[in-house]
Amino acid sequence: MNSVPWLTILLIVPAAGAVLVALLPKTAGELAKRLTLAITAATFVLALLATIAYEPGEPGFQFAQSYTWIEQFGVSYAVGVDGISLVLILLATLLVPVVVLASWHESEQGRRSAGAFFALLLALETGMIGVFAATDVFLFYVFFEAMLIPMYFLIGSYGSPKEQAQRSYAAVKFLLYSLFGGLLMLAAVIGLYVVSADELGKGTFDFAALRQMEIDPGLQKWLFLGFFIAFAIKAPLFPFHTWLPDAGAQSPTGGAVLLVGVLDKVGTFGLIRYCIPLFPDASDYFTPLVLALAVVGIFYGALLAIGQRDMKRLVSYTSLAHFGFIALGCFAFTSQAGTGAVLYMVNHGLSTGLLFLVVGFLVARRGSRDVEAYGGMAKVTPLLAGVFLIAALSSLALPGLNSFVSEFLVLVGTFTEYRALAIVATTGIVLAAIYVLHLYKRTMTGPLVHEENKLVSDLSLREKVVVAPVVALIIGLGIYPKPLIDIIRPSITATYQDVGHSDPAPTVQIAGANTGGNS
């Protein structure tokens, strides 16, 4: 099946869908919804089939295709996946149909039509798949910037309905921040091109060719920074994060899920895909800085989350803490930490996605993001409270649920290289328990203080269908994450080996150590 151009198909289906849905008349809202659901579900099935066809043991990019696009500048339409990008495409294509179903009614409350909402969603999906699949740095940059446009409109036109001014502010802040990062990256991309012209004789944007170059260490630092700042804004890492709480709070629920669940992952993905392999010397040089920002982010995000009253802002800040763990894993340079970090990207998409969904359900019922508007909700919405708790427990990385595996891998992998940092980061798990269980306590437990909350209904059938696959994956990947680990691990191991990092050996060699299972 490897001859099937999976990635091009995966790009064409949602792109064509976006055009199709956009062309529907404004009155055909219902049709637009159903059509989008069908298209996005089909895209997910295609992504699953591609995953089955993928050979985890094979090195390098698979399903690779390359066609010259702009010959003069060495730009190609070049796509391909390794284990890292494949699992992120899976995550993106899974979350989009979930979001479509979750936005069934919310899409009608915006300034534009429901059809436009879903066309934007499909365009966004195309961008997300493209950004992970691109193996041409310029193509990556194009997708990187192109994703901004649908996201911008989703926030600006369909965000929090009562707060028009804040909504626009959030959308513009998101756009400007991202553009600023994009501009820096663009400079670095062009810089790369210049270097490639010098080194290879012919300028190219081909990732595989670029990573073979020996770039002068001094220049590497500048190029690294160009990419890194763009990714640090996108992820975001402390202190580039202040757009996230605004955007997270003002986005429509579905937008927030995709923004934090997938779009932000482009930042952490970029660290591992571009910063480390292209600029290995600079990566080593900046490692202490990145690790410091990561650990600061873990605590800073957690403490700020504890201090929030706005539920969506709160969830956004928890993500800042989680991105700290992911960045830590990327830059610890051990296969455990790196595999954990990529798995963490997927798991965070599921757990924070679910958290945003459930908070969105609550907000849709009561029209308020303020924690104080709730309290004792478990009594009237027991099922919603139960799902909320599962999302919360996933967020605090309880064993048996998905996030534990990734968080522990990150920590243990960091520990073998950077003991002190890992010890400090591990204490962050206490704060994770506090921010998320405190939120649960404030909203779900205690007496029902607000009269209007007594009439709130529990999850509808549609909402149950929305959360069911996410909950199932949260539990399933907690117990048996091996399929994903087996896809990610070889790519991570190869990435680190290429830049000269191997796992440290244990200090004590035990003869005939049992590596797993019984002896």
Partner: protein, 664 residues
């Protein structure tokens, strides 16, 4: 000697220190050990997913799942007894969990002498408490959910003790914490219950940090988290003293969190907000003793580090005193029992801190305590039930005639805990005190005297509790707004109480006399060796009895022979120690001043810092670059949107232009 020979052969390739640890691959019934966990887990899944449809029979499903797990446990245990004593560690591999290159973690189970007795304790006492809860929770609308969580707890606790590597143990460790959290806040509409549940989770997580770091240390040091490899390396003297001491102390931090030991004891009394069967099962008999299990399981590690063992001893001694001193001051029957648990686990820590001489004693006391404390809690539940949820002992009195079964079964548990011969507490506690003295030197005397003192105070507060509840004049009325109509509990509640009472009588002697349990556990925790008594056992026993009788007499004089006030005396009328004890010896105050308030201030400061400083710098920079700040403020005009979009378009143009230049 066959066992020695086998070890030598298997240790081939290991350094001359030997000490290799070997587990046999599971076969026969041992291959079914996963059923122990899956049965209650399936029960929980059915009840939670089945929803209201299972309301009518949910409690039967839950009880059946627990009982089935007990039966499997019994079968496996009998098979274990039937094996050769050198071959009773049976490990089964289930599936790969986190396989990342050198970090290979599998889900696998270990049935051995230690986990075997825990399986029986957990499923046995667990099943009895399920049965009890059928009656106790009969009128609660959430009974099905209650049974689901109890089943979840059983599965988690079994995972904890059955895991064959530290990651699986850790999973069980945190999952029992989850079950505990869910059940403490079972009546989550009560703010106190919700707060107590969160407090329990937070403080447990502090301990969990220790356990997690210990595991990371192990992996970084020996490249594995399997018991076989880690214990083999530890017993083989292959790990440096500093590292092994650090690992032991981190494990101890985890143990303190789970077991409510100083300085992480403050959550356990609050956990009494949960329904009483939970206090019996989780917060007395099983989960809170997991810390003792952890230390005993890690005997090969603790054996190598005198320093860590000393810390265990100090924590045990301090906690046993804290627990029994506070136990004297409370009037809430469940709080007294909770502090009693804190104190009794202190004894167990003291025992396992004594090293090879004490591991088996700690486990013996743990098992005996599992019976009598579960019985005491169930008895208190029976009383609370009869008294319309009243928990203040000052509002009790004279209940022995109205609740004869509760009185007798509670009485037997009471005699067991104060250590009257021949009840079980006598054997197990007396042995601990004796072994503490036998440690030798000044420290041996100190630990011995502390343990002795604790025995006296235990006799005091338990007599106080017993007398205030069942004896004396009734301090309640059958009339008025606060009318009580105490009555004996139904059979579903009294039968478990009777069975646990039988255990309270018999267990201790069974374990201790003739060294049954220590011989059984020796392959796991090591031989206890020859004790060098500084005081002869007879003298210690005599001293213990004298001190206990003293404690009993003190309470009897004060609470039986003199009337008990229905309202607690004001702080001004009691001693300073009582005032402090009523305030949990200021543990909560300390936590608040040292952690909570500074944390709140820090959080508030950071919220301000983030919006004013960090975001301010960003907005200021933006203003500096292109006067964007003013435009941002006018964002709502719509003008800026156009601007931003045109900027995007501009960017793309610039790209094209630059490329053109380059190509040219």
């Amino acid at each position: 000697m066959t066992p020695g020979l086998a070890t030598t052969v298997l240790a081939a390739g290991a350094p001359e220190h030997g000490g290799a640890v070997h587990y046999t691959a599971a076969s026969g019934v041992f291959e079914l050990s996963w059923l122990l966990i899956v049965l209650p887990l399936a029960g929980a899944a059915v009840l939670l997913l089945g929803g209201k449809r299972t309301d009518r029979f949910g409690h039967w499903v839950g009880t059946l799942a627990a009982a089935a797990s007990f039966v499997v446990g019994l079968v496996i245990f009998i098979a274990l007894v039937g094996r050769d004593s050198s071959d009773r560690a049976v490990s089964s591999h289930l599936f790969a969990w986190m396989p990342v290159n050198s970090f290979q973690v599998d889900v696998g189970l270990l049935v051995d002498q230690l986990s075997g007795v825990f399986v029986l304790l957990i499923t046995g006492v667990g099943t009895l408490i399920h049965v009890y809860s059928i009656g106790y929770m009969a009128h609660d609308p959430g009974r099905r959910r209650f049974f689901a969580y109890m089943n979840l707890f059983l599965a988690s606790m079994l995972l904890l003790v059955l895991g064959n590597n530290f990651l699986v143990l850790y999973a069980g460790w945190e999952l029992v914490g989850l079950s505990s959290y869910l059940l403490i806040k079972f009546w989550e509409y009560r703010p106190a219950a919700a707060t107590a549940a969160n407090k329990a989770f937070y403080m447990n997580r502090v301990g969990d940090v220790g356990l997690a770091l210990a595991i990371m240390f192990m992996f970084a040091t020996v490249g594995s988290t399997n018991y076989e490899d880690v214990f083999g390396a530890a017993a083989g003297d292959m790990i440096g003293y500093g590292t092994i001491t650090a690992v032991a102390l981190l494990l101890l931090l985890g143990a303190c969190g789970k077991s409510g030991q100083f300085p992480l004891q403050a959550w356990l009394p609050d956990a009494m907000e949960g329904p009483t069967p939970i206090s019996a099962l989780i917060h007395a008999a099983t989960m809170v003793t997991a810390g003792v299990y952890l230390i005993a399981r890690c005997a090969p590690i603790f054996n190598e580090t005198q320093a860590a063992r000393t810390v265990v001893l100090i924590i045990g001694a301090v906690t046993l005193l804290i627990g029994c001193v506070i136990g004297c001051a409370y009037d809430d029957i469940k709080k007294v029992l909770a502090y009693s648990t804190v104190s009794q686990i202190g004894y167990m820590f003291l025992a396992v801190g004594l090293g090879p001489a004490g591991y088996a004693l700690g486990i013996a006391h743990l098992l005996a305590h599992g019976f009598f404390k579960a019985g005491l809690f169930l008895g208190s539940g029976s009383v609370i039930h009869a008294m319309n949820d009243e928990q203040d002992m000052r509002r009790y009195g004279g209940l022995r005639r109205l609740m004869p079964v509760t009185w007798v079964t509670f009485g037997l548990g009471y005699l067991a805990i104060i250590g009257l011969p021949p009840f079980s507490g006598f054997f197990t506690k007396d042995k601990i005190i004796e072994t503490a003295f036998a440690k030798g030197g000044t420290s041996g005397y100190i630990y011995g005297i502390v343990a002795l003192l604790g025995a006296g105070i235990t006799a005091f507060y338990m007599t106080r509790l017993f007398v205030m509840t069942f004896h004396g004049r009734p301090r309640w009325s059958t009339e008025g707004a606060d009318a009580k109509h105490p009555h004996e509990s139904p059979l579903s509640m009294t039968v478990p109480m009777i069975l646990l009472a039988v255990g309270s009588v018999a267990a201790g002697g069974l374990f201790i006399v003739g060294g049954t349990l220590s011989d059984w556990l020796a392959p796991v925790v090591g031989e206890h060796g020859e004790a060098h008594h500084t005081l002869s056992p007879a003298v210690v026993t005599a001293l213990t009895l004298v001190v206990s009788v003293g404690g009993f007499a003190g309470a009897f004089l004060r609470y039986q022979l003199r009337p008990v006030a229905a309202v607690a005396p004001a702080d001004s009328e009691v001693s300073l120690l009582t005032v402090a004890a009523r305030r949990d010896l200021y543990a909560n105050t300390f936590n608040e001043v040292a952690f909570m308030r500074p944390g709140q201030y820090l959080t508030r400061f950071l919220v301000w810092f983030d919006s004013v400083v960090i975001d301010g710098v960003v907005r200021g920079t933006a203003a500096g670059i292109g006067g964007l700040s003013g435009r941002l403020r006018r964002a709502q005009t719509g003008y800026v949107r156009t601007y931003a979009l045109s900027m995007l378009g501009g960017t793309i143009l610039v790209v094209g232009a630059l490329l053109l230049v380059r190509a040219g």
